[in-house]
Symmetry: C2
Subunit: 511 residues, 2 copies
């Protein structure tokens, strides 16, 4: 499950009862005496900053006099704001966030850097508070721990996770001004979902449409290429340096530390591990303000479960909570999470559990219920690792925007790392009753097969033990290296016994 | 002021009254019932992990039976542990931290990566708790705000800050195995302070000594080069990509956001801004476990002051607190912070204030007083930006190790960014009384000088206004472009007036 911090900036009003709002109330009451005293101070000469441009979200005279201030937002009808009005509102919001030190373009004195933002003196504290709420919400579940891993990640880790191959966008470069653009973004409006098109179809569409370059207006484009979106760097110096990336998600840390987490929970599923930290995505052409960042605050929780377990979490507490759903198939509807699970729309009870708990988190952060919905990913839209995926979307000036992703990742990640490393990333499942297994087959007689096959004896043993009980010797066997050997009956012994097997190793599934 | 998180791992015992210890107590009492129940569980077959290898620092049977456990540490005499015993103790500590999920080598299933560590299921929580203590300690001061800036930093920012030129170590490469090493590290023991040697002297020493390569044992080395220690990357794709680094310190964020912070505090010094986050240092050959990391958790606070202000913080609360000092000149001594300031050993009252508050923080984190000392940097050891610098050192198995740095950075950083960007990064100082300034000189008479000098009139005006009151016209003036013009008395007017100046802009100093 993945949370992105930009929901801080979606203009969703905070109702009075929210905990974040309460914190602001508190801030306001602390700040009032000195603030009022300061409000009467004259501006220093030559400064273009009046005292009315203060940094307190709720105190400033300009702000509280504005019909579009926080009070205005609260009074606004629940209906969604669209079109030109949304654009203007967004500009006002961005300007306000910047003037008041909430969120501002990073490195602005040096000309700025697209896709990078600072949390200023007000935003920095707000960010910490939201992180605390998130951390406490999930730790209180009792079976979740917090880990913290490096952001610099060796090539091999992200090759195993599939990010080296899959984490890319289709890029094209303007032949006139050399500015790189995302091909699918420029073709929005010419196709219902250009994001999901394969490269060849996207190329055909680009050739047909020839969109204007957002930088210079020309319409000549280089052939589309898949551009990996990870920032790359090198660990170490000189020729001993190793290629590495900045992590595209924090989730991989929970998979690479899986052995320590499994040990921590005394090898008992289910359990979860979470991490708050930076994620990186070297966007080709970041636009849309805080929605497409090159470096962002994220918070992820991975919950490890036994896919064969029937344990279902108790969703009784949410049986009356009406929520908006947009399923992958069929129409949007309002319903409850337990009902959507029972109807087979939500595919797994653990996914339903985290949807319910996430909804509670959104409410405790002060998001308004009519501005939240759960949208299920279409099959061709899902990330390379997902079996089922729901986004929590919030409605703001950009329309409905993903804020949380709840994906059933199956055993994709642990299996991928296991295959790449040869390390066991599994859990032990004890059978209710030990299974009695009859073994009837063959093995080699070391005293005779050893001298006969010498260095190949080990390989011959594996092949012989795989033979059926009714094999008649001599048989001819082809080994891995291509050598053919003949196994005589003198080389082998019959094996007949029963074994009691207490359980088995399996790869946990992850939500 | 800069805090590094590795003090988490220095084996300094926590006394019972510390807040971190209290948290562990709490954890223990919560965990006891389920823990005890789990302790009786049999290990799964095939697993080499016994239930006695549990992750709770204080509960495990192995641990509590060990004479070297936490209780053992508490009972240990205050005397310092050195030599072979220290090495063994460190190995035990590292093994324990790893087994119990506190700190473990990162990406271990993929073969690991030197200089990168994970905070595991126990360490992750401990890290958050220490960060909370740090954050609350400084925010409670009332004139400090928290900001949060990107780690990916454009080239221009770190060029202005001096890191592109100065943030380097001297590297040499083994001609036999190609492994890079730090030249000064290999020459420790052959010079009292190889760290401070210029490149030529280090080269001479390397040639004389020919140390053995730590990897392969050979003794042939490439010529020494200065290797920049920042991880580099590129923002954006294609030919429009811009060179960037991962930040070597969080402090630059407080300087680049200075205008927003100054505005937040209504343009009134003093104030502080702090940031917790990752710092990066692409060490040539990281050794010493957690002491030399390539990616680390840091917490920095920059406090902006008026260098002309006489305001001195009240250090009365520390007048009885005896602390160990190692000054740059003279012998180590035990004394109080107010006394060291009065004696001119600590050079600035604000530095003394932050030393005192930092000492309190160390105590509240549970560090034992005899294992803390303040050491002043020698002049040739200080960072490129520092006027005075004190380290808080903690004594552990590596000896005395820097944990906090408190540097008087002067106006170095803001001035450097101001020069690089042309933006004003200053504060306004209002004079107690407005200053009356007599102006007696010349300016041009626009009606006559305009037609006479045409496009050059602006430049002529600047030159004329810089002339002394007793100038006799005509005079010959050389302009920027090299043109020589003759200014007649008809072109100019005498200016005589008094002006009242209310204050001035200055660059704040930073501690």
């Amino acid at each position: 499950m993945r949370f992105l911090a930009f929901f801080l900036t979606t203009p969703v009003a905070w109702p009075r009862q929210s905990s974040v709002y309460k914190w602001n109330e508190e801030l306001r009451s602390q700040d009032r005496p000195s603030h009022s005293a300061r409000m009467n101070r004259l501006c220093p000469p030559c400064s273009d900053l009046g005292s009315s441009c203060c940094s307190n979200l709720f105190e400033c005279r300009l702000w509280s006099n504005s019909s579009r201030g926080v009070e205005g937002l609260l009074k606004e009808p629940m209906g969604m704001v669209e079109g030109q009005e949304a654009v203007e509102r967004l500009e006002r919001l961005t300007g306000m966030l910047r003037r008041r030190g909430v969120i501002l373009p990073a490195f602005e004195i040096h000309g700025g850097a697209k896709g990078l933002y600072d949390f200023g003196p007000v935003g920095g504290r707000l960010r910490s508070k939201v992180q605390d709420v998130w951390r406490d919400h999930w730790l209180s579940q009792g079976d979740v721990v917090e880990v913290s891993c490096p952001t610099v990640t060796p090539f091999a880790v992200l090759e195993a996770s599939g990010h080296v191959a899959e984490f890319s966008d289709f890029m094209t470069v303007c032949l006139s001004c050399n500015e790189a653009s995302r091909a699918d973004t420029m073709l929005e409006g010419h196709h219902p979902n250009p994001d999901a098109l394969p490269m060849a179809e996207l190329q055909t569409l680009l050739d047909d449409i020839s969109p204007a370059c957002p930088s210079c207006g020309a319409s000549e484009w280089s052939p589309i290429v898949a551009e990996n979106l990870m920032f790359d760097t090198v660990i170490g110096a000189g020729s001993s340096g190793r290629p590495a990336f900045l992590r595209p998600e924090t989730a991989q840390g929970m998979f690479t530390t899986y052995p320590a987490i499994y040990r921590h929970f005394r090898e008992r599923l289910p359990f979860g591990a979470m991490q708050l930290g930076r994620g990186y995505r070297n966007e080709i052409s970041p636009r849309q303000g805080m929605i497409r960042l090159r470096e962002f605050n994220m918070a992820e929780l991975e919950y490890f479960i036994d896919p064969a377990s029937d344990d279902a979490p108790d969703l009784g507490a949410w049986s009356e909570t009406a929520i908006q759903f947009v399923p992958a198939e069929g129409d949007a509807f309002e319903g409850t999470i337990p009902k959507a699970l029972a109807d087979g729309i939500i595919l797994h009870p653990t996914v339903a559990w985290f949807m319910a708990r996430t909804y509670d988190l959104m409410m405790s952060l002060g998001v308004l219920a009519p501005k939240v919905r759960f949208r299920q990913h279409d099959r061709d839209e899902m990330a390379h690792y997902a079996l089922d995926c729901w986004d929590v979307e919030l409605h703001g000036s950009y329309g409905w925007v993903e804020c949380v992703g709840i994906a059933h990742r199956g055993c994709y990640d642990l299996e991928a790392h296991e295959q790449a490393t040869g390390q066991r990333l599994r859990a032990w499942r004890t059978y209710p009753e030990p299974k009695i297994v009859d073994i009837d087959g063959w093995t080699i007689d070391g005293a005779k097969a050893g001298p006969a096959f010498r260095a190949l004896a080990g390989q011959v043993k594996d092949k012989v033990e795989a033979l059926a009980a009714d094999t008649v010797f001599p048989v001819s066997i082809v080994l891995e290296g291509g050598e053919e050997v003949t196994v005589e009956s003198a080389h082998v012994k019959r094996v007949q016994r029963t074994e009691s097997v207490a359980g088995e190793w399996f790869i946990p599934h992850v939500v």
